[in-house]
């Protein structure tokens, strides 16, 4: 938004008003659009989470009927995954990748425009299912047949919107890959690229590799329902478990698609505020690549209880445990980067530090779940819910906040309000733990996930979790206020913004000109 006001001289080139945003092919505009969309969807999905937590506040059915409750868990997941976290990181990539590698824009600006503008339509279609006969999809975001085939009129719309979301991600990923591969500034060799660019390159690679699998899976659901095929129906020689294999072959890389860019963001932020170079740059790159590779051979750990042969269970258990090694390397590298640094604790750093601690806790519970004999107990309980919210909320979402605070001064030219930022951090960090930590206990005590009502032994922790949830949700309104306030004004940011910042994007003015790098920068 800020960029619009800074180039009075070129105004006649760019359509003004709303149309400018509709037709824009500028990576900064599109990045902004993605980020705004992600934030909006974060609140839509968050509102659904509030409904879930309100219903679970006490035992008994209070507000919603069980069918609608299931719709809420399903839609909350779909919207957060495909509407909030992924577009959030694609937005960051749009803003930052060209600036970090010294390219004038993304490689395919027009495709960039399309890949964004598909999103709102897909989102509206997905939300539209809430008002259809038979209700919104309620079979879980994993869409396991045969249950998902019991969806009412919403079913084809669900499949179509998921297709659109997939197409958008694919186009985004292709654009990012092509940009990184072909548009680096002279001297910007692969091993000089900032880690954020590296993690996005690997993420985009994962996306390209698995998205067709996902598109195929949901299409087979569609043909099973309407065209008489029986890919997943035992009656025609199919197998409902086959869908789970296909889904998780996509789904496991997908969860890394949501966390790898977060690793990249944290690897940018920690060195800046530790005023020390990132420890083990090349091992970070290799660790990221190994995590990506492992993500292809561990999918069945999401489905240990379907009754696989022993050899299969052992293989997937060992492969899953291996993930701890490269992930550990990353955490050790971050800690070593801080070691003997000269640290300051501005809001982005606080979020990054909370990420390291809380994501590691999520990693620990992940390691515990890799152990198949115990996973038979953890599977489909709140322990799992706690685990993936530690990795996705205190992992991905916290890094999105960190990234927003870190680059907001660069994007807008204005400093955010540090006091409010810190307040936002502390409230978020405390309440997110009140929200999700008790869910570990609930799961261990035996509360299954995706239930609208529970036996009275789980009442205390659910109430605690709900209170944490409401508080965490409210806290995020503060973030919106901070962002709006920063966009509208504030003390001017310097070009470098942060004392310890390094990278091409900090050589540009704040805010950067509408078209950055008119002549390619030389990389040292």
């Amino acid at each position: 938004m800020s960029t619009a006001t800074t180039h009075d001289t070129h105004h006649e080139e760019h359509p003004r008003g709303l149309l400018r945003w509709v037709f824009t092919t500028n990576h900064k505009d599109i990045g902004t659009l993605y980020l705004i969309f992600a934030l909006a969807m974060f609140f839509v999905g968050g509102a659904m989470a509030m409904i879930i937590r309100a219903e679970l506040f006490q035992p008994g059915l209070q507000f919603v009927d069980p069918q609608f409750f299931n719709s809420m868990t399903t839609m909350h997941a779909l919207i957060m995954v495909f509407g909030a976290v992924m577009p959030g990181f694609v937005g960051l990539a749009n803003w930052l990748v060209p600036m970090m590698i010294g390219a004038p824009d993304m490689a395919l600006p027009r495709m960039n425009n399309w890949s964004f503008w598909i999103l709102p339509f897909a989102g509206i279609m997905l939300l539209g299912t809430l008002f259809m006969e038979g209700g919104a999809p309620a079979g879980g975001w994993t869409m396991y047949p045969p249950l998902i085939l019991q969806t009412g009129d919403a079913f084809p719309y669900l499949i179509f919107s998921v297709h659109l979301l997939g197409i958008s991600s694919i186009m985004g990923a292709i654009n990012i890959v092509v940009t990184i591969v072909n548009m680096r500034a002279p001297g910007m060799t692969m091993m000089k690229m900032p880690l954020f660019v590296w993690t996005w390159l690997i993420t985009a690679y994962l996306l390209i590799a698995v998205m067709p699998v996902f598109a195929g899976a949901v299409t087979m659901l569609l043909t099973d329902q309407y065209f008489g095929t029986s890919f997943f129906s035992a009656a025609g020689g199919g197998d409902p478990v086959m869908f789970q294999h296909i889904f998780w072959f996509f789904g496991h890389p997908e969860v890394y698609i949501m966390i790898l860019p977060a690793f990249g963001v944290v690897s940018q932020i920690i060195p800046t505020f530790a005023r020390k170079r990132l420890f083990g740059y090349s091992s970070m790159v290799y660790a990221t690549a190994s995590i990506a590779f492992l993500s292809f051979i561990v999918w069945a750990h999401h489905m240990f209880t379907v009754g696989m042969p022993l050899t299969g269970e052992l293989f997937f258990m060992y492969a899953t445990m291996l993930i701890a090694v490269p992930t550990g390397v990353k955490v050790f590298n971050w800690v070593s980067t801080m070691w003997k640094g000269s640290m300051t604790f501005e809001t982005p750093m606080l979020f990054a530090l909370a990420f390291v601690v809380l994501f590691t806790i999520g990693g620990f519970s992940g390691l515990m779940m890799a152990i198949t004999p115990v996973d038979f107990q953890y599977h489909d309980t709140y322990f799992i819910v706690a685990h993936f919210h530690y990795t996705l909320v205190t992992g991905s979402v916290f890094t999105l906040f960190a990234a927003a605070y870190y680059w907001l001064p660069k994007w807008t030219g204005n400093m955010y309000d540090e006091k409010l930022g810190k307040l936002h951090f502390w409230l978020s960090a405390i309440f997110v733990n009140v929200l999700f930590f008790p869910q570990h206990f609930l799961g261990l005590a035996g509360m299954p996930r995706r239930i609208p009502d529970y036996s009275t032994q789980f009442a205390e922790f659910n109430m605690m979790s709900s209170l944490g949830g409401f508080a965490f949700g409210l806290t995020q309104l503060l973030f919106v206020y901070i962002v709006i306030k920063t966009v509208r004004g504030g003390s001017k940011a310097t070009d470098k913004v942060w004392e310890g910042a390094e990278g091409l994007e900090w050589t540009l003015p704040s805010p950067p000109p509408y078209h950055s790098f008119t002549t390619a920068p030389e990389v040292k």
Binding site: P186, G187, T189, M190, M191, Y205, A209, G228, S230, S233, A234, A235, G236, G237, D239, V241, F249, A289, S290, A292, F293, F296, I297, V306, G307, M308, P309, L310, T311, G312
Partner: protein, 178 residues
Amino acid sequence: MTASTGSNPKLVKRLLLIVVGMFGFGFAMVPLYDVFCDITGINGKTGGRVAIAAVIEPDLDRTVMVEFIANVNQSMPWDFTPVVSRMEVHPGKMYRTSFHAKNRTDRTMVGQAIPSVTPGLAARHFKKTECFCFTEQQFLAGEGRDMPLLFMLDPELPEEIEVVTLSYTFFDKHKAIN
């Protein structure tokens, strides 16, 4: 101004090799998994018709208990029961048994029986030469009949397996298509 810099192509090549290798291994896992599903009989799929070419010497010293289970899917309005619920068999010897099914409705229905064997390891050692599950079964309104099953356990059935359970589930063919 030169577009490509010296060290880049080499590094890219190396990285690509690693990446391709990794992904190659990744996708190789799928057929690999496929293979071990076939070997180990994931989900107890017994596969289709098995023709037994050579005459196999029955292993009369060993007895294995075979249990029969019958289910109908989606509460299909059929009665479906095994005529005998368990049999002691010698591996390598052919046995005959039958299942009884009855269509309780007043309309003609077509069903398809889907077999499943547990433990999964036994699945590929469970040889059926004649089975009502090979084809769709049409039942007139109110019709009931016995359907034969001719089977043999492969003598190579792993030693530790003492009980094999064969389950059939009848699916309403009309429902499956719609």
